[in-house]
C-alpha cells in the first residue's frame, strides 16, 4: 500500500503538471469544436450546431420556435439551444471557451465583444458571407473592430428617460419638451414632482449606476466614454458634473435617499420606482419600456435625456442590443453562418421575436413587424424613428476591460450618494479605476 501510494502519487503529480501546462494552453487557443464530441452528427450529412443566448422564459420560448422554423427550412441542420440568465451566461461561456468548447453561434454584448474578439474567439462574419446588405452601415460599425465584423447587432436600443404621465398629472407638473430640456430642468422638474405627488412618490430614480447616462452627457459635450483606439475620452469636469446631478436631486428631494436609491437600483424594472408607481421618471434602455409598462399597469412615455440642445451637439445614440457572433473554431462555419443569416434577415424570425432583441437592425424586416407590435413597443419604434435624424454617430465598440466599468460606476456612484466622495473626488477615482481596467 505504502509503496503503491508513493509511486502513484509521483506519477500523478507529473501527470497533473503536464496537463496543467499543456491542456490549458492547448484548449485555450486550439480549435476543439463547439459541439460535444458525442453529439457530432453522423455520416448522413446531419450537422449539429449549438446556439447560446441569455434571457428569461419568454425569450427562450420564442427562440425555440425560431429554431424549429430554421430546422424545418434547413433539413440536415440541427440547432441545439443553450440558454441561461445574464450572469450565468458569461460564466458558462468563459468556462466553455477556456476548454475550447465555445458554442458555434453565440450572442455577444458590447462590454464583452472586444474581449472575445481580441483573442480571435469569434470569427469574421464578413468572411463567412453573412448577408448584411439590409443593415445600415452605422449599425454594422457597432460590431466592427479593426475592420473586422466580429458581431452583427441583433437590434438597437436607445438609452431614454421613461416618464409616467399620470404622476405628472397628479403632481400638477407639465411634461417637459424633451428636445429642449436641460439637466437643470430635469433636477427642477423632479423636485416639483416629489413635492406635488405626495408621500412616498418621487420625482425620479437615480441614474448614476449606469455608464450610459454618462456617455450621453459626454457626447453632448463633444467627448466620448471611449475613443475608437480604446482610450478614455472623458474630461474630469464632465464626470464630476454627472455625479453632481444626483447630489442636486437628493438635495431637492427629487430622488430618494442614498439607501433607497441603492435598493431600487437592484430591483430591476419590476421593482423600480416606475414599476411600482412610486416615481415619475427613470432612465432605462428603450426595450425595457414594455416590462416597465406591464409592471406599472400604466401607459408610460419615452423622452430623450436632458441636455440635447444644451451643449455642443446631441448625445443620444443607438446601442446594439446584442450581437450574433460565430465561434472562430466552429466545425460548421457554413451552417452557422446560414443560421445567423436566417436570424438577421428572415421576416418570420422578426415576426416571432419582435423587439425582444432590440428593434431589428435589418430595416426591411423592421418595417414588416411594425404593425404587429404592442402599444409600448410601437412607442419605442416611433421614438427611435424620431431620434434617427438627430443621432450624430454611435460610439465605437468599448475596449477590452470595459466589462468592469459598470461595477466601478456602481461603486463610485454609491460613494457619492452616501457622501463619502465629492463629485470631484469621484471623477478622479472613476477615471483612475476605468483607466486601470482598460489599460491592464
Amino acid at each position: 500500500m505504502r509503496v503503491t501510494i508513493h509511486r502513484r502519487t509521483r506519477r500523478g503529480v507529473a501527470l497533473v503538471a503536464l496537463m496543467a501546462s499543456g491542456a490549458l494552453a492547448l484548449s485555450a487557443c486550439s480549435g476543439d469544436s463547439g459541439a460535444m464530441p458525442n453529439d457530432d452528427g453522423g455520416g448522413d450529412g446531419d450537422v449539429e450546431i449549438r446556439y447560446a443566448w441569455w434571457g428569461s422564459d419568454d425569450r427562450h420560448q420564442t427562440t425555440q420556435e425560431i429554431i424549429d422554423l430554421f430546422e424545418e427550412k434547413n433539413p440536415g441542420i440541427t440547432v441545439t439551444p443553450d440558454f441561461t440568465d445574464w450572469d450565468g451566461y458569461w460564466d458558462k461561456l468563459a468556462t466553455a471557451t477556456a476548454a475550447g468548447d465555445t458554442p458555434d453561434v453565440i450572442t455577444q454584448e458590447e462590454r464583452y465583444l472586444s474581449e472575445y474578439a481580441s483573442q480571435d474567439i469569434v470569427a469574421d462574419l464578413g468572411e463567412l458571407g453573412v448577408d448584411t446588405s439590409e443593415i445600415p452601415a452605422e449599425t454594422l460599425a457597432t460590431g466592427t473592430i479593426d475592420d473586422t465584423l466580429y458581431g452583427v447587432a441583433t437590434g438597437v436600443n436607445a438609452y431614454a428617460m421613461v416618464a409616467d404621465p399620470q404622476i405628472f398629472a397628479d403632481a400638477g407638473v407639465e411634461m417637459p419638451d424633451d428636445t429642449t430640456w436641460t439637466w437643470e430642468d430635469y433636477v427642477d422638474v423632479a423636485g416639483k414632482l416629489s413635492k406635488g405627488a405626495g408621500d412616498g412618490v418621487w420625482g425620479t430614480q437615480d441614474y448614476g449606476f449606469n455608464e450610459a447616462g454618462l456617455a450621453v452627457l459626454a457626447r453632448q459635450k463633444g467627448e466620448t466614454l471611449y475613443t475608437p483606439d480604446g482610450e478614455l475620452g472623458l474630461s474630469k469636469e464632465t464626470v464630476a458634473e454627472f455625479f453632481q446631478v444626483s447630489l442636486d436631486l437628493m438635495a431637492n428631494e427629487g430622488q430618494p435617499d442614498a439607501s433607497r436609491s441603492v435598493e431600487y437600483q437592484n430591483a430591476g424594472p419590476e421593482g423600480s420606482l416606475l414599476g411600482t408607481n412610486a416615481g415619475a421618471m427613470g432612465v432605462w434602455w428603450s426595450n425595457q419600456l414594455g416590462a416597465l409598462s406591464d409592471a406599472s399597469g400604466r401607459e408610460l412615455e419615452l423622452l430623450r435625456l436632458p441636455g440635447e440642445s444644451q451643449f455642443e451637439r446631441t448625445g443620444m445614440y443607438f446601442k446594439p442590443a446584442m450581437y450574433y457572433s460565430i465561434s472562430a473554431t466552429t466545425e460548421h462555419p457554413e451552417e452557422s453562418a446560414k443560421f445567423v443569416d436566417f436570424l438577421l434577415n428572415d421576416p418570420e424570425v422578426a415576426a416571432l421575436q419582435l423587439t425582444d432583441r432590440g428593434l431589428p437592425s435589418n430595416t426591411t424586416v423592421r418595417e414588416s413587424i411594425l404593425p404587429e407590435l404592442t402599444a409600448a413597443d410601437q412607442k419605442v419604434a416611433e421614438f427611435m424613428e424620431g431620434l434617427e435624424s438627430d443621432v450624430v454617430d454611435n460610439p465605437p465598440v468599448p475596449p477590452q476591460g470595459s466589462s468592469e466599468m459598470q461595477d466601478i460606476m456602481i461603486r463610485i456612484n454609491t460613494e457619492v450618494l452616501f457622501g463619502n466622495l465629492t463629485p470631484d473626488e469621484a471623477a478622479d477615482a472613476f477615471l483612475k479605476g476605468v483607466g486601470a481596467a482598460i489599460g491592464g
Partner: protein, 307 residues
C-alpha cells in the same frame, strides 16, 4: 464494559497479531484515493500553477512568477475583502454555533411536535441560492421593509439594512445566523449519539440536569462541536452566495460586503484575471489551512474522543 475491556486485553496479549491495518485501509480508502488522484488533484494543482500565470480564461496562460501574489499586496480592494471576511468569520461563526446548539438542545426532546418545529426552523436553510432570495431580503431588510415597519411602530426610524454601507455586513451576519439549520441538525444527530446509559448512571448519582449537561452532554458532544467549528470556519471564509445575492454581485454598497470569494470571482470571471484569482484562492487556502491547523492542535485540549 470494563469486563469486555479486560477480556479484550487478555486476548490481545495472547494473540499479538496487530500490526497496522494498511491493507484494509487501502481498501476502504480506494474510492477516495481514486477520486483524489483523478478528480480532485488536477484542478487543485492546476489552479496552483495558474496562480503563477497571467491566465485570462480566453488566452493561454503565460508564466509570470509571483507577480500575482505581489500584486495582491498593493491592491486596496484585496485588503478590504480580507477585512470584510475576517470580521464576518469572527462574529458570525461563534454566533451561529451558539444559536444552533441552543436550538438543538431545545428541540431535542421533551415536547410534543418537535419534529414539526425542527422542520420549520430548518426551512430557511433550505432556500439555497434562488434568485427569489434577493427580493425576499429587500422585503424584510429594505428601507421600507418589514423590520422598519415594526421599528416605526415603536417610533424608531430604521435604515436600509442591506443598502447602507454601515449596516450591510451586519445584516449578512444576522442572515447567516438565521440559517443555523445545518449545524443544528448535526448537533441534533450528535445528541442522539450520546448513550442514554450515561444519563441514567448520572441520574442515579443524583446529578442535576445542569450537571448532566456539563459533565456528560458537553464532553461527549465535543467532537461534534469541533466538527461544526472547523467546517463552519472553512465555510465562512468562503462565503459567497448570500453576499452575491444581496449585493447583486458587486460586493456593495461601497464594498462593504466585498467578501474574499466574491472579489476573487469578480476578478476571475468579471475581469478575466483568472491567474490573479487563483493566487487569491491559494492565499485563502493558506489562511484557512492555518486556522484549521490551529484548531486541530487546540482540539487536543478540549475535544474528547473515545480512542
Amino acid at each position: 464494559m470494563a469486563v469486555i475491556h479486560e477480556v479484550a486485553r487478555t486476548r490481545r496479549a495472547a494473540t499479538e497479531h496487530r500490526k497496522g491495518d494498511g491493507r484494509a485501509a487501502a481498501l476502504f480508502l480506494a474510492p477516495w484515493f481514486v477520486g483524489l488522484v483523478l478528480i480532485t488533484a488536477f484542478p487543485l494543482l492546476a489552479s496552483l500553477y495558474l496562480s503563477f500565470t497571467d491566465y485570462s480564461l480566453l488566452r493561454a496562460p503565460g508564466w509570470v512568477g509571483i507577480e500575482n501574489y505581489t500584486a495582491m499586496f498593493s491592491d486596496p480592494r484585496f485588503f478590504q475583502a480580507l477585512k470584510v471576511t475576517f470580521t464576518y468569520v469572527i462574529v458570525s461563526v461563534p454566533l451561529q454555533l451558539v444559536a444552533a446548539l441552543g436550538l438543538a438542545l431545545v428541540l431535542d426532546k421533551g415536547l410534543k411536535g418537535l419534529a414539526f418545529y425542527r422542520s420549520i426552523y430548518y426551512l430557511p436553510s433550505l432556500l439555497g441560492a434562488s434568485v427569489a432570495i434577493a427580493i425576499l431580503w429587500r422585503q424584510v431588510f429594505g428601507a421600507d421593509g418589514l423590520i422598519n415597519q415594526v421599528l416605526a411602530f415603536f417610533g424608531i426610524e430604521g435604515q436600509g439594512w442591506v443598502s447602507h454601507p454601515d449596516y450591510a455586513l451586519g445584516t449578512l451576519i444576522v442572515l447567516n445566523v438565521w440559517t443555523f439549520g445545518a449545524p443544528m441538525v448535526i448537533f441534533l444527530a450528535g445528541l442522539r449519539q450520546v448513550p442514554t446509559m450515561y444519563y441514567e448512571a448520572a441520574a442515579i448519582d443524583g446529578a442535576g440536569r445542569l450537571r448532566q449537561f456539563r459533565n456528560i452532554t458537553v464532553p461527549l458532544l465535543t467532537p461534534i462541536i469541533f466538527f461544526n467549528l472547523v467546517l463552519q470556519l472553512i465555510g465562512a471564509f468562503q462565503t459567497f452566495t448570500q453576499a452575491y445575492i444581496v449585493s447583486g454581485g458587486t460586493g456593495g454598497p461601497v464594498d462593504s460586503t466585498l467578501f474574499y470569494t466574491l472579489y476573487l470571482y469578480e476578478k476571475g470571471f468579471g475581469s478575466f484575471e483568472m491567474g490573479y484569482a487563483s493566487a487569491m484562492a491559494w492565499f485563502l487556502l493558506l489562511i484557512i489551512a492555518g486556522m484549521t491547523a490551529v484548531n486541530f492542535v487546540a482540539s487536543k485540549y478540549w475535544v474528547f474522543y473515545d480512542d
